[in-house]
Amino acid sequence: MPPHDEGPATREPARSEAPRRASGDLVVEARGLGKTYKGGKGQYTEAVRDLSFGCRRGEVYGLLGPNGAGKTTTLRMLSTVLSPTSGTAVIAGEDVVSHGDRVRASIGFLSGNTGLYPRLSPREVLHYFGRLHGMATDHIEHRIAELAQLLDMADYLEKRCDKLSTGMKQKVNVARTVIHDPPVLVLDEPTSGLDVLASRTIVDFIHRSREENKCVIFSSHIMGEVRRLCDRLAIIHKGAMQFEGTLDELRARGGGDDLEDAFIYVLEHAA
């Protein structure tokens, strides 16, 4: 059942304009995801309502919305940290509700304020998460060497994490996210709170992940980032989907060339 009243453009994204490298079946598919929090005094808060969307390999999918729109809740449901109160999602062929463990094995998750263990070194952190993902020790070592070179962090692999700069930490975080080479990346406002250089690391990382044919879902409220990175995007407001489609479709929706205007237009005309 259509939960919200939207124009035909959002209900049926033009498949002909499908993103550049995206191919094959949906790797991430949300099916009517909903989350209701029980508050005090029997009150209920509906954080996310009947959200459906999909994302393919080699595609960067943006989740856009103002603060409190339900982006983080949505991404947490996709990554199984929260369980949906209605609907479900299928990631890399596994259901988030019934097979959380297997879903988590194929996801790399990163957010802007993800922390590292301050008393461990980057190598120890990466090792730890590699082991938790069931990787063999030599495989982990090999992977760490690979990522250290890629992210240019060989110099501080043995330092304690609390001695690292924000930029260095973010690189370690990126490495931690992909230590097990997951097919799906879930990034929750990955650049929030970062300076320009550290943000750059993230942006490069997203680009590279697309090159590697991964499926990337990331949330943001920064239009510029979305414009540069996204193949397709969804706009969420008040917990519900307000728009889904390509950048061009969003521009068309706004009736002008400016994406920001279009974004605001969608929010203002939200159901």
């Binding site: 947490r76 199984t80 463990d101 988590r104 094995a105 998750f109 263990y117 461990l120 082991r131």
Partner: protein
Amino acid sequence: MNLRTIGVLARKEFKDVLRDRRTLFFMVLLPMVAMPVIMIAGSRFVKKQAAEKEQRVLQVATNAGGERVITGLRDRWMADNQVAVGLTIAKFGIDSLDDQEAIADFFVRLGKARQAGGGEAGGELMAAMYEAWQKLPEEQQRLLLDYGAVNRFMSLTKFRRFRSLPKEGKLSPGVKIPDDMPDAEALNLPPDASLPDPEVVALAVQEKVVHGALYVPTPGGDEASAAREVFVTLDEGRAYRIDVLYDASISLSKEFLDRFEGFMAALERDEMRRRVLNEGLRSTFVAPFDLEPADIASASRKLQGALGGLLPYLIIVFCFLGAFYPALDLTAGEKERFTLETLLLSPISRLDIAAGKFVVVFVAAVTAAILFTTSMFITVTQGVLPEGLLAGLDFRLEPLAIVLTLSLLLPIAAVIAALVLGVALCGRSFKEAQNYVAPLQILFIIPGMVAFLPDLETETHLAWIPLVNVSLLMKELLKGNYLWDFYWITLGSLLLMTALVLWGSSLLFRRESVLMRT
């Protein structure tokens, strides 16, 4: 549950937690160092305090004639007993009654040896002295003790007239002894009157200007009449009244009462002897019963009883202290550092996460308790403590007792670890978790303290109450009593509680409202 995963988790958490100074402090340093230090310093302090109290010259306020009456009574006692005392004391190598120092030293040692119940506790010299004293005829034993009591009170008391009490000065701000501080002479009280203006004297005692007050009847209102009155009263076979004022809440004031009562008891015995003699009666006439209580508990056994109560209590405390920081660090600490979410995103079950963390906190709790117990035993057995305090203390530490104690320690540590971990998880930050966990101490400490209650015995129904049972049982194990029925019920009830708390905590770890509460 996946053991490999739990192993990976626990190993990392150990590494992490062991790099945290706070954890190391509470898990290793405190239990190992704190106890010996507290015990050594504490016992030295107590000894010093006691010695100071013994030597302390006490100030006693009296009305006119008070000092003369007391001194007169003392002189009468000495005149009656001097020869006998001199002869008896000579047996201990003290030549004359003029050697005040040697006599004082003798009585201090004798007092200590009696307190310690003889044996090795008082040191070799004292033991010999005590033995010699014990061999004396009962009458001579008594005489020496009375001589000590009389001397002690007289030599360590400074009498002050009520009039000489300070008007102001050392008193608390706002407290004033009134200008018209009454004096018995001025008041011209009748013989049976109580203390002159008791309120004022009471104030002086409370303000520690004096340690107590004595009031004797002064029928003529002056010193001479008071001095006459006392002997007239006694010789007529009547009772002579002395009013004594003290404050039981002030320890030195109590000390004054003790010394004075000792003094008066000696005088009373002397006076009684005189009266019996004068009436031509036998001494047993006024002592119809001859009661001889004998305390068969040795001092070391008494101390063992006290320590037996303390040990389980402290083991519980140190379990808690050991668990405290790691538990907070691994739960609320992870939330505060934004690392919990990443952990939850690993393809491992939440039960495994809980188990991994539990293992670490559990080991920390056990480590703290074992380190504490070890260091405590080293302190007690290696004579680190001041000589005499614990000498002769005989811990029966048989291997079986150790195994059984450990078997009780493990479930206690498990309960504490699981509970603290679960509660700490509810905190959003380290600080908040601290606020939640700290009050839990009471839950463990109060049942741990029941072993201090001297009358609580190892009755079977108490074996069902977790922690209370451990306290009681450990105390018995330390004495070498193996109460098997009690043990099995204790173990069973502990394991039941462990299972319950573990289950509850694991439920918390599966609740996203708790996990994501940031």
